[in-house]
């Protein structure tokens, strides 16, 4: 099992301890957080559905259909995010889901593509930590950890601060600097950036579909 790390700024992989299942690793992380002094504050859920452009709209050149992801984040319950892989991200309200039904002719839902992560939210000082289990259908595929530092809006400013916080409860599994920071130095971080990172994370997990799902390695 490979849990994945995602925070206000980065996506990366990290290996899990030998002989532990997904649930046990999640419990380990939550216990470490609670020992640090974090308070539990409810649950969270991020889910993602994939759509691809319907074959009827593809041009005669036979260009490949683009994949569109429609995502929801419980942190923004009244919004719906629609994004392409390297393209723009649209933030709409929840009626967008209904709109997608009407656009059935143009975008078709990929089969069994729904992937989601669910877990608990923790608050530690100004940090918001979400530890969730990534599931695709009935099976658990990995762990997502999201850390958000509220007061700072420019991600490149507080990366070192975030890193130090991650080290305090992840130990040696802390990831490297994220690639997203390089592009936009001073741009203000927004909810769209979080959702983009979740999408990349889910894609990574999906690509690992071939790995047999085993409880204990």
């Amino acid at each position: 099992m490979r849990p994945f790390l995602l925070e206000g700024g980065s996506v990366s992989q990290m290996p899990v301890a030998e002989g532990k299942s997904v649930q046990q690793t999640v419990e380990l992380l939550t216990r470490k957080l609670e020992m640090l002094g974090a308070e539990k504050q409810g649950t969270f859920c991020v889910d993602c559905e994939t759509y691809h452009t319907a074959s009827s709209t593809l041009g005669s050149q036979g260009q490949a259909g683009k994949l569109m992801y429609v995502m929801h984040n419980s942190e923004y319950p009244l919004s719906c995010f629609a994004l392409f892989e390297n393209g723009p991200c649209l933030i709409a309200d929840t009626n967008f889901d209904v709109l997608m039904v009407k656009l059935k002719g143009f975008f078709q839902s990929a089969k069994a593509s729904k992937i989601e992560t669910r877990g608990t939210r923790y608050q530690y000082c100004d940090f918001l930590v979400k530890v969730g289990t990534v599931t695709m259908g009935p099976s658990a595929r990995g762990i997502s950890v999201e850390v958000e530092y509220g007061p700072c809006v420019v991600p490149s400013d507080c990366w070192s601060l975030l890193l130090e916080f991650l080290q305090s409860f992840l130990g040696s599994h802390t990831p490297g600097a994220p690639a997203v920071f390089g592009n936009r130095h001073d741009a203000v971080y927004g909810p769209a950036d979080t959702v983009v990172q979740y999408m990349e994370l889910f894609n990574k997990i999906r690509k690992q579909q071939q790995v047999p799902v085993a409880g204990i390695r």
Binding site: D126, F127, P151, C152, E164, F165, V188
Partner: protein
Amino acid sequence: MADVLSVGVNLEAFAQAISAIQALRSSVSRVFDCLKDGMRNKETLEGREKAFIAHFQDNLQSVNRDLNELERLSNLVGKPSENHPLHNSGLLSLDPVQDKTPLYSQLLQAYKWSNKLQYHAGLASGLLNQQSLKRSANQMGVSAKRRPKAQPTTLVLPPQYVDDVISRIDRMFPEMSIHLSRPNGTSAMLLVTLGKVLKVIVVMRSLFIDRTIVKGYNENVYTEDGKLDIWSKSNYQVFQKVTDHATTALLHYQLPQMPDVVVRSFMTWLRSYIKLFQAPCQRCGKFLQDGLPPTWRDFRTLEAFHDTCRQ
């Protein structure tokens, strides 16, 4: 309480007089006992008469002695003074039902307490006056007669002058922008935006800084009517901490005669917060302490410290 009442009364003589009365009573009763007993049984009539008379005389003499003693003592005791030095409160003390209406004892306690309070307050004000906290240019200890009728000049500055000073400071630092408004009368309210890190609301009284509130860059600083919200605190603990530090700073930078220098130093100090999330603590080298970044900026060197790490 007893010594308050005994003005003019000699207590010892009083006690002695009471025992003298008891002695007198006993000697008088001995006289009557002797008379009642009559003559004792003796051999001759003369002997009996003599013994009786001698006994009777002894008793009368002891009565005389005791009476003289009592008279002497009663002269010593003296009179309780006629006037009531306690006036109406003394009349309260004559109330015999002490457990139901302990008015007099409570009155005395309240009086003693207020005396002590006055004494301690006098001591405290003497100590506090040694450390002057007034930031205006008023002179201390000037009596009411000699105090000038007009207010000190630094408190009544024309608003145009205040505007000029603030706009000059605004141009001083590129990453800090100051917006001045006067929604409530003549006191200026500044909204200082420092890069993309934080926003500070500064409430002023002519050129003196009165209060500051520090909020995050993404937090709302306006109320629902669109006015500047000068009361609500930030939602983030780090900015609540910085607000406390800013209040300490505005009390630290004091120069009653030159308030514009004070405002300039305060803004220079505030500007050091541009690296709030990037600078590690100079003492421990880490970024986080209890979940907070180094929020303290030294007043002279502008170095970053954690609140618990500062010297």
